[in-house]
Symmetry: C2
Subunit: 608 residues, 2 copies
């Protein structure tokens, strides 16, 4: 039944050789990998204005130079990530670049930071999209958390079905959003050109403003840079592209960069020219749309596609997280289950883990995840800085033909990203200090997991470990609880193995029981030696373990192997298990974990 | 560490032959088995007045004839339970009596009803005692639930230490309470005799009262009868008495009956004579004490011991529940773990279960368990009625010498108890209807558990089941995941067993991997046959199960036994387990539950 449900939810299993059909063309890849970056347009410009308004409305003209600064950063990032894509065509992005060029720990910082960031992406963007919906339909407001969780589950299921299917479904809303914003910007510019908007609404560029400071401008710039989160996703997900994957990925990245630049600058410009002030009741984009179209169909179309893209921004996390996890798992820094492909050829463990963790975040913050946005922005700029610096070092070390312009691009990128990171720490320390605690913890966890895997590999390799001790003979111990059919079956099995010695062990709690059982046994199965261990404290494990110790010590002297045969009831119905004392489980666990003996379980299937 | 903690909390384990020292003398037995019944004096008289006040204060004189009715019922119960004790000296009370004389289902109704009742006893009495404490110290009020839970845990631990130890500690408060109430009644009677209390305070007996009805009087009588809950406890706990157990138990019961009768009639009389009206702020006993002594030391002494005995009334449940459970477990109506003696020779599973369930009740009702009192009273009168009727039938059937007076006693008891039960259903149906749902469910559960145990017994008994199939030879299947030390060890073991056939099974996900592994294997271990099962859907379980099916079908034809040898990593630290894919657990579970093959686990203890 569970299997059938799984089939309905995620579809039939796919064969490993169907992997090729699961690759993405550029149109679909752009849709699912850029939704995070493009959705930032919905809140990035607003973030700049929210900082400037703390001075006065007259300071709003600064949004134009700040917007230009963000665009420069965007260009630097796109150019340098193009270089990363060609240099590391197997994906892994910032993690691989930092690890290869800067060393293990910078790599782990970049990787850990991005892993956490994708979880934050999912939680933050789904919560934001849900907020947009519940603002439109206030009756749903009390169910915000529930709705957000349902969205995460839906996106998780969609991704478990495989990347092609999710891309086919999710492409429409993304392109509709792009279309909607282009229409808005076009109509807005037309209004301005045709004189429909008076220039009086905004302070002219260059107006002197009281109280403005470099600190404040930097802070506004850092806030605006949060629109660039998600730019790195494509570099993590190169293996999802059709061949030639790096070339396709690089082109997709360029297109995404151009779209993002146009939408971002258009929105910033219109907001400035219309003289829009951020208010609680309506977002900046919604105000622009209302001033341009009034409350017409277009207004609601823009609002609807914005809500959708906010939710779908989560999907970028679902594309990038599992592939980053595969890279970390292959390098043995996280459990190896993250490198296993699921039924639909996606890395389902990563997808499920991402879904579960972001649901937990949503529940923990009761759907109010806005306070996580700065944390999430700084979590992107740390790996940005590390990967750019890594690329710098790479060019300086390798000096390939034409390396100087490449070095300049990456150096510029590294410098701007480092600055943004510093600005974040300077201006928003109260919101981002937790990263200073959990990043080291994550890196420590990576390190310890890696140490364990290395140690295991060392112990298993035939070349490095001691040769196996030969087994000269076998001693079988058979704990018995009575004279029943189950015991008969196990004893027959023990005899069939041709062991050198079979010892049945009976553990009576009362002295009287001891003699009685010995007599019965000698009549029933005289060919198997019986040992009784009187247990005055009514424990079965203790005397049995002590006895096995003694037998094992003697056996080891002559390289004999000790095997304990334990019969186990398998009841027909699950609930029947609580009616049996599960002694066989307890004995088995105690033996396997504490002793070096082999445990054989003889199932006895109850028919009723 | 856990073992050390257990030692501190409940003491060193006791040997089975120390059981004799764990038996109770009459003084201690009276203390722990009568606390429930005696504590009823603290609320029984009040319950009568609470019903009468719905008419008028003039009706209070009816408390005297109603009190006499309760006393008659008490005498009938004591006399007939004495007869039960001698007739069924191994304990079990109402359950055993009803089962033996009325049949299985009446027995189960009595037993189930009492099991639930003891859980209610613990929850209700601990909550009541906690209420008394938090009324005295209002700052503790918000912690009521927490305090009640801590009391349950303390009483549970005390009982896990063993019945002697708990009795030694709990005897003092019980006797102090009895002493306190005797002083109160004595002083009250002296006051009345010396004319310190004017007779004007109460309406004389026989005053006609408007609006009084038989229904109301019956209801008052039923409420007063709740003071008799706990009378049956001694008959369940006979095995806890020193030899001669039945005689000692009967004497204890008589003494308890006399004490209860004196305290109950004294309280009812004083309440009537003082003209006390039940109010929310102070209990009836507290009002009597205040009128008698004023707010002196004696007043607080009475209040303190009353709070204590309310909490300790729970202990009666702890003495009776586990022993009733043993009887039910021995008859195979509840899981057999309830018949196993713990480290301290008490039936610890029953004790722990009682503690856990009553804590759950307290949490579910947030410490406000008063509404459970009627449920709890009716839950006692059902088994009372059943056991009395059972005894009636017994005398009629067996007709031992002097059976007529015995029959009269039990018939009177049965008749009164049946009446009380009816009155409960008539007058408090809204509070007690749940019993009509959960009693049938409990009896159904008993029935299904019993059916399962009977079926298992049938299948295990050598005389009834088919003779075991002889094992003519062995086939060993060895799933391998690579060429490692672990595989080498398992293969060596398989060879040492002298099986007729050993088949190594490798499950590659990719075609290329298949040929490569086959080549490596044939070089490494040419004497063991390798089968590769290409798994295009990347499942290990499915192809393996299919293969084992095929092998097993062939093996069965010639009575060969199939054994699957599974290597299992045992990491040094618990958390390491999440770093390994637990394939061995999955395979083992799938095999044991779905197939008739034997599974051998070869542990490989990781050293780092």
């Amino acid at each position: 039944m569970l299997v059938a449900l799984k089939r309905i939810l995620i579809g039939r299993p796919l064969k490993s050789n169907e992997l090729g059909e699961q690759k993405l063309n550029k149109t679909k890849a752009l849709a699912i990998l850029s939704s995070d970056a493009l959705s930032s347009v919905a809140y990035g410009p607003e973030q700049i204005l929210l900082v400037l308004i703390t001075i006065s409305i007259a300071a709003f003209w600064y949004s134009i130079p700040i917007g230009i600064g963000v665009l420069i950063l965007l260009v630097a990032l796109i150019l340098s990530y193009r270089q990363i894509i060609f240099a590391y065509p197997h994906g892994g992005g910032a993690y691989v670049v930092s690890k290869e060029n800067l060393g293990k720990y910078p790599g782990l910082v970049a990787g850990g930071s991005l892993l956490v960031d994708y979880i934050l992406t999912v939680a933050v963007s789904v919560s934001a999209g849900t907020d947009a919906i519940t603002s439109a339909f206030p009756t749903l407001h009390e169910h915000t958390v529930g709705i957000a969780v349902v969205f995460v589950i839906l996106i998780t299921l969609l991704n478990l079905r495989g990347v092609t299917e999710s891309a086919s479904i999710l492409a429409y809303p993304v392109y509709l959003f792009v279309l909607a914003l282009f229409i808005l910007i076009g109509a807005g510019l037309y209004n301005i050109a045709s004189g429909g908007v008076s220039a009086a609404q905004h302070a002219p560029i260059g107006t002197p403003v009281m109280g403005i400071s470099l600190f404040l401008l930097l802070r506004a710039f850092a806030s605006g840079s949060s629109a660039l989160t998600g730019v790195e996703a494509i570099s993590n997900a190169i293996p999802n592209f059709r061949d030639p994957a790096p070339k396709n990925a690089a082109r997709t990245l360029t297109v995404m960069g151009i779209l993002l630049a146009l939408l971002f600058s258009g929105t910033v410009f219109l907001a400035y020219y219309y003289g829009i002030t951020p208010i609680v009741e309506a977002t900046v984009v919604s105000q622009i749309a209302e001033q341009t179209f009034g409350r017409t169909f277009m207004y609601f179309f823009i609002q609807g596609t914005t809500a959708l893209i906010l939710i779908l921004a989560a999907n970028t996390g679902y594309s990038a997280f599992p592939l980053l996890a595969v890279n970390l798992a292959k390098d043995k820094f996280i459990p190896r289950m993250f490198a296993v492909r699921g039924d639909r050829l996606g890395y389902s463990n990563g997808i499920i883990m991402l879904g579960v963790l972001s649901i937990l975040l949503i529940l923990a913050f009761k759907g109010q995840t806005e306070q996580l946005i700065p944390l999430y922005a700084v979590g992107v700029f740390i790996p940005f800085t590390l990967s750019q610096s890594g690329m710098m070092l790479k060019w300086i070390r390798q000096k390939p033909p034409g390396w100087v312009p490449k070095l300049i691009i990456n150096t510029t990128g590294a410098f701007i990203c480092l600055t943004v990171t510093f600005v974040f720490f300077l201006t928003k320390f109260t919101q981002i200090w937790p990263i200073l605690i959990f990043l080291p913890l994550i890196v420590l966890a990576f390190h310890r997991i890696n140490k364990h895997y290395e140690a295991v590999g060392e112990q298993l390799r035939l070349t490095t470990c001691e040769p196996a001790v030969p087994i000269e003979g076998n001693v079988i111990i058979l704990p018995v609880a009575g004279i029943t059919h189950v015991v008969e079956h196990s004893a027959n099995y023990a005899k069939s193995l041709g062991a050198d010695q079979i010892i049945a062990v009976y553990i009576p709690f009362e002295r009287e029981d001891e003699a009685k059982f010995e007599e019965k046994w000698s009549k029933w199965m005289p060919d198997v030696r019986l040992v009784t261990l009187h247990s005055p404290y009514r424990s079965i494990i203790q005397p049995l373990m002590k006895f096995i110790d003694t037998v094992e010590r003697k056996a080891r002297e002559s390289n004999y192997q000790v095997t304990v045969i334990i019969p186990q009831f398998i009841p027909k119905k699950g609930w029947h298990n609580i009616l049996h004392n599960q002694t066989s489980f307890t004995i088995r666990a105690a033996l396997l974990y504490r002793k070096d003996v082999i445990v054989t379980t003889v199932p006895y299937h109850l028919k009723k």
